[in-house]
Each structure stands twice: as structure tokens, then as C-alpha cells.
């Protein structure tokens, strides 16, 4: 499915994110999340900032606007980045819509 910024994407509650030694580790706890059994993911600063803002209450566009304001960055660049990230997370059921 194509990612559309008018949709509301939210975190799968069966994925836990922990900050350990300055790294953000995503730990899927239920079967069927991610590509492979036992696989985990790390997020960088932009990744975690996006993840933290995701909510079933707001559209992805709102998330992008908030990020632009916070980081004082170009909307086009942020949009491309965020859509790319959500694509990866959505196809692994780490975020839901």
C-alpha cells in the first residue's frame, strides 16, 4: 500500500522501543511483526523523533509539520524521509493505519 500523508499511522503496541547506550532498539514482541523471527531494528534520531510523534489521532501530514517546526527543516526533504521510513515500518506491521 502506498503511504498517504492524509492517513493516520500509529504504533503497533506489540513493538517496544528501548533506548540503550544511546541507541534506539525496536523490539517486536509478537509473532508476525518484522521480516524474520527474532529480528530487531534500530532507529536514528530522525527515526525516533518520527516514531514518538505517531498517533492514531493525527495524520502523517501533522507529524511532518511538527517535525519541520521542531527541526526548522525543508518540508519536501522531511516528507520524503518520513514517507520512506513509514513505508518500511508499515510493510513490517511495526506501524499500523
Amino acid at each position: 500500500m502506498k503511504i498517504d500523508i492524509i492517513n493516520k499511522y500509529y504504533k503497533n503496541k506489540d513493538v517496544i522501543v528501548r533506548e540503550i547506550e544511546g541507541e534506539y532498539l525496536m523490539i517486536p514482541i509478537a509473532s508476525g511483526i518484522g521480516d524474520m523471527e527474532d529480528e530487531m531494528y534500530t532507529l536514528n534520531e530522525t527515526g525516533i523523533a518520527t516514531w514518538e510523534k505517531l498517533s492514531s489521532e493525527k495524520t502523517l501530514e501533522t507529524v511532518i509539520d511538527e517535525l519541520c517546526e521542531e527541526y526548522d527543516a525543508n518540508k519536501q526533504e522531511i516528507t520524503t524521509d518520513v514517507i520512506g521510513l513509514i513505508e518500511e515500518l508499515f510493510k513490517r506491521k511495526i506501524v499500523l493505519c
Partner: protein, 378 residues
């Protein structure tokens, strides 16, 4: 393949994060002995109390206490968690405890005898797979299994429980204890385990003495211990074990005496893991029961208790000449069951060389060097 730079997949065991964690000074795993009670009554068991022992049950940590300790561990970067016992599935609140720990982002493994596995556990483990589900196989015939477990009907329960896991594609690791009561079928046990397990078959011939010092039970344990020739023989007969010993020969047998300068602890005990007893005491090694190294977590926080034990470990020195001249310099300590914890369990002191351990270690050294020589010749 991930095509976005904000996210990367990690294979945890080989990751930089784990390497970073391993360099930290404190443990990265926490092990909860959820209960000392067990539905079995194995001849060699160092811990079990009867399943209906209400005194032991009343001392067990409740789920809130476990959660509080897990929070403290998570805040200190702990990643791995093991649930063991006794038999952890004896606890009515096992599923809640398991899920609560998973939801904290701990990578949880479970050790069980599989006898109590029911449909609720199957559903739980299917949806929330444990990192590792390790089942001990005491025998693969009713007679042997029940001779070890001491409970009539336990073999059937074990087989049913294991079948439930396997038919539901829940991966298990199978292992065995090698003892006098099952040594006659240890090779069949090995075949059975290799056939059904996702991991290489492991067996352990070393039996700890009882944690509660029960003399009658200790006699039984001693009668189950294999002697040096039996240990060498089963290691020789197990291809994988023999090869692993040959390969790691240089780490197991040093060329020169070591210099531990009187330090009692020369092992990695400070980083092993937080070992939490069923009644809420912290140890840094499950068998290290000397009172200087056990602190109640009902009184102290996890890190305060850890620091107190660590301090005592770092400053522990021996003045026993026998120990200083033997174990403290020993080239083959890595082949020996001697360690301060086992020394304390065997003799009541942390630094007493133990004659049978010494004989076993020397017999294993001789055998491994011979195997190594003949494997390099061939």
C-alpha cells in the same frame, strides 16, 4: 532490504550494541527463579521443594515485586531475562509475569520440564515466542525418566507437554543432565534431542549440591555424580562435544601457571547476570550462597545490592596455602568444576581445593590433549 536510512535491522548477538553492552561494568541479564517448588522430584536436583510447600510459596516474589525489579534492571540497560525455578510454570500467574516482562522489552527465555505445558501456554508462546524455551530431558523411556524425576506418571506429562510445543511449531532447545540413573541411555537421549531441538544437544555431567544443604538429598546427588572415567567416556562418545573441546583446547588448558595473586574470584562473576532467588535475594551467580554475596532485594535496591556484593567480591582474598598453591595458579581451572561457589557448597569455605574435582579435571586434560594429538596427526 531496508531502503530508508532512519532505520536499520540488527542481528542482536553480533551487533555493536551488544558489544557495547558487554563492555559495561554491570550485568546485562536478569534471571528470576520464580519458585523453588517443582512438580518433579529429581534425584539430582539442587533446589526443588514439593509443589504444595506453602511455606516456600508464601516467600515467593509476587508479580508487583518482580515488575519493580524488572524496571530497575531495564533502567540499567538489561536486555536478557531468564525465567527458571523449580518449575516456573507451577506459578498460576506465570503468563502474566511472562507478558509483563516481554512488554518491558526484555528478551525472555524460559527453562521448564514441559510437564505442565497446557493450551494457555501454547497460545502464549505461539503469539509471544520466547527467546529460548529450554526443556530438560531426563530420560526417553518411562522407566528412566521416572527413576530420575521420582514421580509416577511424569513421563507421560513430559511427552504430552513436549508434543504440544512441537506440534504447534514452538521451537524448543533440548538438553540433558548426564547422571548415573540415565547414563545407560544418554546416547539415545542425545539422538532424541538432536531430532527435536533447534539447537545443538547439550548435556551437563556436573551436579551441584543442594542450595538448602539437605544432607539426605546431598547423598543422593553424590550417588548420581559420574566419575572421571565416565565423564571422559561420554565426552569422547559425543562427536560435537569432543570436537568443541579439541577446538577450545588452548582456552581450556593454559601453558603456564596463572597468577591470581590470592584473589578468590577469578571468574566473570561481576558480569554474569542478576540472579534473583524465589524469595527475593540477589546473587551474582546462582550457586554463590555465601552470606557475604547474598542481599535481600526486599531491603536493598537492585543496584545497591549489586554494589555491595561486587565490593565484597573484589576485595575477597584467600590465605589458605593449599588453595594458593593449587587452584589459584591452576592451568586447568577452566576444565574444573572448582569455583568459589562450588567450593562453598561442597565444603562451607570459598577456597578449598576439592579432590574429586581435581581428579576429574586432570582426567579430562589428559583425554583432550590425546584427542588433540590424534586429530592433528590424522
Amino acid at each position: 532490504m531496508i531502503e530508508n536510512e532512519n532505520i536499520a535491522s540488527v542481528n542482536l548477538p553480533d551487533s555493536d550494541l551488544v558489544k557495547k553492552l558487554q563492555r559495561t561494568k554491570t550485568p546485562v541479564s536478569i534471571n528470576f527463579e520464580l519458585t523453588a517448588r517443582c512438580n518433579n522430584n529429581c534425584r539430582h536436583c539442587y533446589i526443588n521443594l514439593p509443589e504444595n510447600n506453602t511455606d516456600a510459596e508464601s516467600l515467593e516474589l509476587d508479580i508487583n515485586e518482580i515488575e519493580d525489579l524488572a524496571d530497575q534492571a531495564v533502567n540499567n540497560g538489561v536486555l536478557w531475562c531468564l525465567l527458571t525455578g523449580g518449575e516456573p510454570l507451577l506459578r498460576d500467574d506465570f503468563s502474566e509475569i511472562y507478558l509483563m516482562l516481554r512488554r518491558k522489552g526484555l528478551l525472555v527465555s524460559v527453562f521448564t520440564n514441559a510437564c505442565l505445558i497446557n493450551e494457555t501456554h501454547v497460545k502464549l508462546f505461539k503469539k509471544y515466542k520466547p527467546r529460548e524455551l529450554e526443556v530438560t530431558v531426563y530420560g526417553i523411556t518411562e522407566k528412566t525418566y521416572e527413576k530420575v524425576s521420582g514421580i509416577k506418571g511424569s513421563y507421560k506429562l513430559f511427552k504430552n507437554g513436549l508434543d504440544r510445543l512441537l506440534t504447534n511449531d514452538i521451537p524448543v532447545s533440548l538438553k540433558a543432565m548426564a547422571i548415573h540413573s540415565n547414563i545407560h541411555e544418554i546416547e539415545n537421549i542425545a539422538d532424541f534431542c538432536s531430532k527435536h531441538s533447534k539447537k545443538k544437544f547439550k548435556f551437563d555431567p556436573f551436579l551441584h549440591k543442594r542450595y538448602d544443604g539437605d544432607e539426605k538429598r546431598n547423598k543422593k546427588i553424590l550417588s548420581e555424580r559420574l566419575n572421571k572415567d565416565e565423564i571422559v567416556k561420554i565426552e569422547q562418545n559425543n562427536f560435537a562435544r569432543k570436537n568443541a573441546l579439541i577446538k577450545s583446547c588452548d582456552q581450556l588448558i593454559f601453558y603456564q601457571d596463572i597468577d591470581a595473586s590470592g584473589r578468590v574470584f577469578t571468574c566473570g562473576v561481576l558480569k554474569n547476570g542478576f540472579e534473583i532467588s524465589y524469595d527475593g535475594k540477589l546473587r551474582l551467580c546462582p550457586a554463590l550462597l555465601h552470606p557475604d554475596y547474598v542481599y535481600s532485594l526486599r531491603i536493598f535496591s537492585l543496584m545497591d545490592a549489586y554494589r555491595k556484593i561486587a565490593e565484597n567480591i573484589i576485595k575477597a582474598r584467600s590465605y589458605n596455602e593449599d588453595f594458593l598453591n593449587k587452584c589459584n595458579k591452576c592451568k586447568i581451572i577452566n576444565l574444573c568444576y572448582f569455583c568459589p561457589a562450588n567450593s562453598f557448597l561442597e565444603t562451607g569455605k570459598l577456597d578449598t581445593p576439592i579432590d574429586t574435582f581435581c581428579k576429574n579435571a586432570h582426567a579430562r586434560q589428559k583425554a583432550i590433549l590425546e584427542w588433540k594429538k590424534s586429530s592433528s596427526l590424522s
